[in-house]
Structures are given as structure tokens and as C-alpha cells.
């Protein structure tokens, strides 16, 4: 990969990451936030892969796009179920 191509890829990855992270911050509804967080994790994994850090990319992919959003979604489900029973 020559230098210009690398610079273009890194720039794209940085922009995608910034957009995805802003989306995750702006999403106010927790379930939607979990999905936005997963997208943001995917963007970060792409950024790390482009920056030639495959080990960190794999960690981010596994934790940021799978485990963390899953834990948030499960918590949301538990809270909602309790609230429905209240009504």
C-alpha cells in the first residue's frame, strides 16, 4: 500500500469513526444507543485495522460491537419488563 492510499484510508476511517461516535452520543433512547454503540465499535475496529493494529481491532470488534451493546440491551429489557409490570 503506497503512502497516499494509506492517508486516504486513514482519513476515511477517522471521519467514519467521528460520525459514528457522534451518532452514539446523540442517540438518547437506550436501545437505539446500544445499536449506535455497536456501529461506532465497528468504525473503531476499521480504524485500528487501517492503522495496522489487528490485535486491537479484533478486541474492539468482539467487545465494542458484541458484548457491550448486548449487556446494555439486556439491562434495557430487564428495566422495561419491570416497568410494564408496574402499570
Amino acid at each position: 500500500m503506497n503512502n497516499t492510499a494509506a492517508t486516504v484510508l486513514v482519513t476515511i476511517a477517522l471521519l467514519v469513526t467521528a460520525v459514528a461516535a457522534t451518532g452514539a452520543v446523540l442517540a438518547r433512547e437506550p436501545a437505539r444507543q446500544a445499536a449506535a454503540l455497536a456501529v461506532s465499535g465497528l468504525a473503531l475496529a476499521f480504524l485500528f485495522a487501517v492503522l495496522q493494529a489487528p490485535d486491537v481491532a479484533l478486541s474492539e470488534l468482539a467487545v465494542g460491537t458484541a458484548v457491550t451493546p448486548l449487556l446494555i440491551l439486556l439491562t434495557v429489557r430487564k428495566v422495561r419488563r419491570g416497568r410494564e409490570r408496574d402499570r
Binding site: D55, L58, S59, L70, K78, G82
Partner: protein
């Protein structure tokens, strides 16, 4: 303290921090430069110890003590989640119902479950050779197992997930990391230093202590994440009643509903 005071204090602190931070950034080497003093030393040390994946060498050999701290953090958080999410006295556990699953979903899960577990085991086993390792492979193993929940139902997941065994495996693997560090002391070197036979570069059994600690981390992360997810899943699927569930009237209203 009034709002204006607080803003003023923040403004002064932020200005000072911004000044020092900008001054520090000016001294940094340029992005993507040709000179990497730390990288060159890390690669040299890694090659010397016959570890093909330099990152694994940094994590489990050159900076093994830092990794020990990180693994202890994971272990402590699993322990904390287990304590907090235990079934309280006024909660009750309901048997989850058997669920109907589309045949295509069932087929998808049945085919992909073994493939995912094999991938996870591969990533753990080749940690000292290629990108990945105990942490990454462990998370793949743990999340892959939950395909059983997607392809079947919660009862099947409970059957393929022996929590008592995994609890013990998590603790034993975390302890194994600590104990493996003593190998260095026994050999007359420092704690966690890599004194085992180094093997042939690029072979599965190379890198001395690295693949062994890597495997311990793989077991700890895989069982730890399964246990962690199990506590959350139990709460979401099985456990009902108690203050965390039916009685959270005010808490539920407060966050806007």
C-alpha cells in the same frame, strides 16, 4: 458555589490544561513517521524470545505485569456482577418457556456454532503467532456459545453452559496467571520473566511462557464473559419480583419513561 463561580473555575482549569496539552502535543513525533524507538526495541526483544506476534510478546512477556493487572480487573468485574445480580430473597426464578424457532434459524445456529467455537479456539491457540490471542479468542468463544440461545432457546443455552464449572475455571485461570509468574522466581529471575525453553520461531509451541499465559487468559476471558452474560441473561429472562423489578416505580418514572 454559584453557577458563575463554577463556570469560572472550569474556564481557568480548562485554559491551563489546554495550554499544557498543546505544549505537550508540539513535542510529539509526527503522525506515521519513520522513527519508532519503542517499536524497534519491542520487535527486537520479541524476536529474541522467538515470539512471532510482537503484540503477544509485549502483552504476556515484556509487559506481562500490566496484563496481570488487566486480567484482575476483568476477574473483579465478573465477581462484582455476580454478587450484585444474585437472586435476592424477595425475587423468584421462573423456568423459561421452550421457544419455537424457525427451521432456517435453527440450521444457521447448528452450522455456525461449531465453526465459531473452532475459530475462537484457533484465535486463542495462535495468539503467539498471529493477531489475536487469549482475550480476543476468549470473547469469540464466549459470544459464539450464545448462538445456542439464538438457534434454540434459553433451556438449551443453560444445558451447554455449565456455570459451576465455568465459575471455577474463571477463578482457576486467573490464579494460574499469578502462579505462572512464580516460574521466573523459581528459575532465579524476576517475577513473570520468560525463562522457559523458547522453542522454534513460528511454531505453535514457541515463545516460552507466552503461549501458556495466553491460554490461561483465554480460559479466564471465555469463562468470565460467559458467566457475566449469564448473570445479565438470568436477570432479563428468568428472575422476577423484588425491588429491582416490580417495585422500581419511582426509579422507572425518573428517567423519563
Amino acid at each position: 458555589m454559584t453557577k458563575a463561580w463554577r463556570l469560572g473555575l472550569f474556564g481557568v482549569a480548562a485554559a491551563v490544561l489546554a495550554g499544557w496539552w498543546a505544549a505537550a502535543c508540539v513535542g510529539l513525533p509526527g503522525f506515521g513517521g519513520q522513527v519508532h524507538p519503542y517499536g524497534e526495541r519491542a520487535v527486537g526483544a520479541s524476536l529474541e524470545r522467538h515470539t512471532a506476534n510482537v503484540i503477544a510478546s509485549v502483552n504476556f512477556d515484556q509487559r506481562a505485569f500490566d496484563t496481570l493487572g488487566e486480567e484482575s480487573i476483568l476477574f473483579a468485574s465478573v465477581l462484582g456482577a455476580t454478587m450484585l445480580l444474585r437472586v435476592a430473597r424477595d425475587e423468584r426464578r421462573q423456568r423459561p418457556l421452550a421457544a419455537r424457532v424457525m427451521p432456517s434459524t435453527r440450521l444457521f445456529g447448528a452450522v455456525l456454532l461449531p465453526v465459531t467455537l473452532l475459530t475462537g479456539a484457533y484465535v486463542v491457540a495462535h495468539g503467539q503467532l498471529s493477531p489475536g490471542g487469549g482475550f480476543q479468542g476468549g470473547v469469540v468463544l464466549a459470544t459464539g456459545l450464545h448462538l445456542a440461545y439464538i438457534a434454540a432457546d434459553y433451556r438449551v443455552l443453560e444445558r451447554v453452559r455449565p456455570l459451576t464449572v465455568l465459575d471455577v475455571a474463571d477463578a482457576a485461570a486467573a490464579a494460574a496467571f499469578t502462579v505462572l509468574g512464580l516460574v521466573g522466581l523459581v528459575a532465579g529471575a524476576s517475577y513473570l520473566s520468560n525463562t522457559l525453553p523458547l522453542g522454534t520461531f513460528g511454531e505453535l509451541a514457541s515463545g516460552g511462557l507466552v503461549p501458556i499465559i495466553n491460554a490461561a487468559v483465554g480460559i479466564e476471558v471465555a469463562s468470565g464473559v460467559i458467566v457475566l452474560l449469564a448473570r445479565f441473561l438470568d436477570q432479563a429472562v428468568e428472575v422476577g419480583g423484588g425491588p429491582g423489578d416490580g417495585g422500581s416505580r419511582t426509579a422507572g418514572k425518573e428517567d423519563g419513561g
